[in-house]
Symmetry: C2
Subunit: 216 residues, 2 copies
Amino acid sequence: MSELTIWTLDWVPEGPRGFVRDLRLRWACEEAGLRYAVRTVAFEDRETNHLAQQPFGQVPFLKDEGIEIFESGACLLHLARKNDRLLPRDPAGAAATVQWTIAALNSIEMVTVPWWFLKVTGGENDDLTGWMGKRLDQLERVLGEREWLAAGRFTVADLLMADVLRVAKVRAFGHRPATEAYVRRVTERPAFKKARADQIGHFAAADRKRAGEGSN
Amino acid sequence: MSELTIWTLDWVPEGPRGFVRDLRLRWACEEAGLRYAVRTVAFEDRETNHLAQQPFGQVPFLKDEGIEIFESGACLLHLARKNDRLLPRDPAGAAATVQWTIAALNSIEMVTVPWWFLKVTGGENDDLTGWMGKRLDQLERVLGEREWLAAGRFTVADLLMADVLRVAKVRAFGHRPATEAYVRRVTERPAFKKARADQIGHFAAADRKRAGEGSN
């Protein structure tokens, strides 16, 4: 039987648990009713031990029969095309969904990830923070007018946008009530909760395995 | 007769000419043999005068019969699906092409655009420069092994990746001969040269119109 396989790391420290991007793929599979297996590459030497599968040394990547795909955004579009639960079939709805999926990656995450990177490395920059604030204000205006980004219903664009906002922890950044409510609405979905719990469980099991190995 | 319409600005200063992202859409249409018209929104008040069409106040956006799409990456995927010149029809080739299109947006441009932003605003940051260097080294390794990113031939992924590298002017950043040769190979295509010349001509015509209005 053919099966989707999501690849992630075998272990990560506490901090990123619940945020590693295989969560996006687990979540999409849960929403779309797709069965999947999870396999791993080693956390140690993770930047170089799987370059043949992911040339930037990152996770996740996806295998679907003969097809291998990296980039969480590309994996999501691939999964979303399997049925209409995440991507409407009508051309206008599909185009709007792809548009907002790309907007999450290239208009929002393009500023939130560098903002987060500079914050973590101690190089916070007021101009970049201002740029991010402007983008988030523009998104707040959109989310103040409607419940979902595309096609009048939950799509893969909402899955990705909510995750981008959640990962960057920008919910805590400024007063943007429509964005707050949106992230809450999307992350209250059972499929998100299951995907998050499964990822946390995966890494917790790795802790127990490590502890067991240590006691031998 | 139905017609594709690419929307851009009515005028920009000299600096960005040849780099405004409507070029990506013109180029894709030229490669795919698609007829298109160009329409404009005003440069003045550009951040707020077309929010109904582009909520981040940017160009380009695309109209194709009843469908409107913003985000250059999403517009490119839409155009690429019209025939097989930019996007292979076989599932593995299509998946690899979408994957590398997303990689251009979310693994490369996510670092090159903020790097450029910090450079322009006088906030250059060594950690971010190091991050970009790492990503470009990883891409250099890929481009050292093959001529095109996906499916063994030129696709929309090459169009976008070469434009990302060209816009960020990262060709001048470090010694990466395979990347240099790749950008040269892609931008030597007649469709790129026509798209670039047409964009520059569009803005030059706007100069002449402005000058004419000024002399009245």
